[in-house]
């Protein structure tokens, strides 16, 4: 079910809904604008995997303006899935992609996407949601902290293989 925020006559009102095939070119363009990398194939595969299969445990949501006058521009998107027993962890919701159009920031788009994803995880019976953020990614760190996320019980480790 779509999640509509604020009164629909409000031009800032948003609808958070499941991604559609017609949104994918906008998702690709938005990601390219933010990261500077064109990853069309990656996002097409992400759509097939997270937008079209296992709808009760994989969630690919987009934020669009509620007002038709504002067009159907994708203002942001979030992807998450339920992962079970990785490293002994009980099933929990994982958020692994979140992007908001730089022109639509500070309007609550990211927060609404985050809340909609939290709701999906809760409906699926999850009591925890997790994500991973680069230590130096201030924007994402501030956002997720602001949404109440705290350090979890795992530490990410890596090894240089060169």
């Amino acid at each position: 079910m779509d999640r509509t925020m604020k009164a629909s006559e409000d031009e800032d009102a948003l609808v958070i809904r499941a991604v559609r095939a017609t949104d994918v070119p906008q998702v690709i363009a938005l990601d390219q604008r933010i990261t500077g990398l064109a990853k069309a194939e990656y996002w097409k595969q992400a759509y097939e995997r997270y937008g079209r299969t296992r709808p009760n445990e994989r969630f690919f949501l987009v934020a669009v303006p509620a007002s038709k006058k504002a067009g159907r521009r994708v203002l942001g998107f979030i992807i998450g899935e339920i992962r079970a027993w990785e490293f002994g962890s009980e099933p929990c919701g994982w958020v692994f992609a979140l992007s908001v159009d730089p022109d639509a920031r500070l309007l609550g788009v990211g927060e609404e996407l985050f809340l909609a994803m939290s709701e999906k995880f809760k409906q699926a019976g999850m009591t925890k949601m997790r994500t991973m953020v680069a230590r130096d990614n201030r924007l994402h760190s501030l956002f997720f902290r602001g949404e109440g996320m705290m350090a979890g019980p795992y530490i990410q480790l890596e090894k240089d293989l060169s």
Binding site: R135, D136, R138, S141, L142, F144, R145, G146, G148, A151
Partner: protein, 150 residues
Amino acid sequence: MNLQIASRLAIFAVLELAANPERQLSVGEIGEKYGVSSHHLAKVMHVLGRAGLVRSVRGAGGGYQFVGNTRRTTLLDIIQLFENFGTRDDDGAPGANTSEGATLREVLGEIDDIARATLGSITIATLLSLVARQHRQPKPAEEPRELSKA
């Protein structure tokens, strides 16, 4: 990890004032809650004022007011006003120039990096939300008092 007393006091003072930016509080009122002297707190407030986080309001009912941005000011921003947090300088420490010293410095640096990232990701607004959450949490039931043993 430990913070210097001035950093802790500054964080407490900012939280008190930022919780209600319209309100003015004197150093005495803030100091009373946290059990510190007005003298010590006054020095801290002076530094916070120079950093543009608080301003002093003169006159009757005067005191300090928060004038920063709660969504942009992080714990690290405040702490760095009072201490060189996470800048490890052990050049003169015994063994610093050995391989063992370098390895130890690398591990300790990893801890510093994590602490710095954590403090740099928590804004005053986030901290106020956490404080509110703490208030909402039910207090643990008081342990039954043990009768004095004979």
